[in-house]
Symmetry: C2
Subunit: 407 residues, 2 copies
């Protein structure tokens, strides 16, 4: 008799963004005349840049001719892309990462989820609170999270690190031993960042305790401040304690095109075993490489033209973030993030529950957001805005919110 | 202290195709003047067909324009592709599969590997012997295989089903209870098939024992005989006991383009839980959909033009298979497969060990093959040829082998 992975039965029903979408849909159906502006999901809206589409077209042509056709590629990704990544994302910043430490994938979500395969089921996992739900759910599926306590809105065996205004969005070191530590900077959902000095504290902790930091740098392209590292490997000692996830989703608008990569340094060893070798084995056994066509598109991001074009899009989104940040401040809210990030994180007025504030903004300003409580208990009392909309619509949404809250 | 998944340490070192590639490379370096013809790895060589490249180009253009740009798509795949699959691959054959039972992925290897996520670690796994190594290795990684016995070349906790000439390549039902049963038809590596009646025996067994059949149909496009099902769901009762993996890799030359799909019927329930819902949760949590561009390319396979074009390629490879089959027979070998499959499976002459025969063909005929022993102990004494080469090179390779063996 086949048995199921019973951990799946412990997962609470609805995924945050499904519930957000459901409420928007219910409201929209009841009020078809209202124009709802979505500042909710973290999905880009600007098209792929010409450097990328040119490269994609060229790769499609290659695949259509016998002389240039490519079948199975290396499971780890093509050298042309791994080398471009190393040169541009690491060596240019003085970070000594080698191409065989870079694994190309179909996106950071897959890698963030699959990385658990190489770790024991007994590891104690620490997550920020609020948190990107994928870190939590994938560990729950693997049996590392214990049981879900619906009352506390927490898993019994996860270690939650409050990341809130009161600690400047820099979580305190754990007070009990933890083994796997998820850190996301620039952070989703808070839009805040950890400086190099703040990250150094975590690197030192992980090295001292043989923990592993799972560092999500999906939003690094939005960083503008010098003391904020784009990669955890800019921090001394990280190569013996960290794995880094990168994505072309927000950097180059690849959310629907799908490409990311993961860095596993060869110096990262646990139980006497190289995690680079383990991830290599995992990927060569359970993955067959990212589409050649898409890898060519990703490589074009690293050309001079590609960089100029994607940075224009980033600047566009950052201008939206500034509009949201300034507007919400004007509306009297306490506002965070938005500077090195496409996310703006705001305290709800008068301690209003975040789902209530979500409903208020949806119904009275026709602006869709994401309630902080959906990201974890310490997200209660906050709300997330994303800068990925159109410029005019973003301005209009903010004007509506300012008008509503200053009423 | 972070711990690793210690099951990885049990995996024997070298992956079959790496060892094949290594021996070819060593020989080629020592004899740079020899022209080695590869009939070894199951990788296509014909370019993508025009219907597919046209669709890919159009999708790239869509992604380059703001009005038609697509960000995150459904994790399960776009409706246009799921519906085309259902209409063409299932309903046309009278099989009642619905679009929400079809999950688009980046390829069958990922799905064959990841499907284990939704099952308990305590399931007893049955595999054919010889076998596609991914089924074995992924279960070993998940702790279902026990320990590797290097002497027996078997895992202590897997149930091996010899699939050999003596039983007509139709494995016998297990003599002890098994829970998850991998069946691949047309088979890799043997190139043989199970008829509808033969598959019905397995479906009845699985239903009677609440087992689950994991059916790999990656080579279905090569089927030409009427009594060989293209899908296990053509067999009555399969919807309550089977999951099916499909791929565009061999069907449409997508080995480097990456797209496949998995069918999990809603009627498939174990421990009182719908496996369709579990796989949906797994994919929405650990996967973010296949590239929109690639899905458009895959959908073009189902147009009238696309079908005509891909069937020309299939016919091309099938002609190669016939050349290999007939030639090996002429050379005096016992030959199997090759009819509904791109693989030809032959007994080595005089019971020669398969790695020895591999070396002999490489060194004396300069033809690369894959030794049967690499696929499992019952593959010993066999050798695999693939039909994915160029027509002229295939003819030449076969002539060399005939000359060598008739010497």
């Amino acid at each position: 008799m086949a048995t199921i992975n019973s951990n799946y039965q412990k997962l609470p029903g609805s995924y945050l963004f499904s519930e957000v979408a459901r409420r928007i849909s219910v409201y929209a159906q009841a009020h078809p005349e209202r124009k709802i502006i979505k500042l909710s999901i973290g999905d880009v809206t600007r098209p792929l840049v010409p450097a990328v589409t040119d490269a994609l077209h060229a790769a499609v042509d290659e695949m259509g001719r016998a002389e240039t056709f490519r079948g199975y590629g290396p499971e780890q990704g093509y050298a042309f892309l791994r080398e471009a990544i190393v040169a541009y994302d690491f060596q240019r910043r003085g970070v000594n990462i080698q191409p065989d430490e870079v694994f190309i994938s179909d996106g950071a979500k897959s890698d963030c989820g699959n990385i658990g395969d190489i770790f024991g089921a007994d590891n104690k996992v620490a997550v920020c609170d609020p948190v990107y739900p994928v870190y939590v759910d994938t560990n729950a599926m693997a049996g590392r999270a214990g049981d879900y306590d619906a009352q506390a809105e927490k898993w019994t065996n996860l270690y939650y690190m409050p990341t809130v205004a009161e600690n400047g969005f820099a979580p305190a070191l754990p007070t009990e031993p933890v083994d796997l530590i998820y850190i996301c900077s620039p952070n989703n959902p808070t839009g805040t960042v950890l400086t190099k000095d703040q990250l150094k504290v975590w690197v030192d902790y992980a090295n001292a305790n043989d923990a592993v930091i799972l560092f999500d740098a999906a939003y690094e392209a939005f960083i503008e401040e010098d003391n904020v590292p784009h990669s955890i490997f800019e921090v001394e000692g990280a190569e013996t304690c960290a794995i880094e996830f990168r994505s072309f989703s927000k950097t180059a608008g690849f959310t629907g095109t799908r490409c990311g990569y993961t860095v596993v340094p060869k110096a990262l060893v646990r139980d006497g075993v190289s995690l680079n070798g383990m991830w290599n084995r995992r990927q060569s056994t359970k993955f067959n490489g990212t589409s050649y066509i898409i890898q060519r598109g990703a490589a074009a991001v690293y050309t001079e033209e590609g960089q100029r074009q994607i940075m224009e899009n980033i600047a566009f989104y950052k201008q939206n973030a500034k509009v949201i940040y300034d507007g919400l401040q004007k509306a009297g809210l306490e506002v965070y993030g938005g500077k090195n990030s496409p996310y703006v994180w705001a305290k709800t007025p008068d301690g209003m529950p975040s789902w209530d504030f979500f409903d208020k903004l949806l119904e009275e300003a026709n602006v869709a957001t994401t309630p902080g409580a959906g990201f974890g208990p310490s997200g209660e009392g906050y709300i997330r805005f994303t800068a990925f909309g159109e410029a005019e619509a973003t301005v209009e949404a903010v004007e509506r919110i300012v008008a509503l809250l200053n009423k």
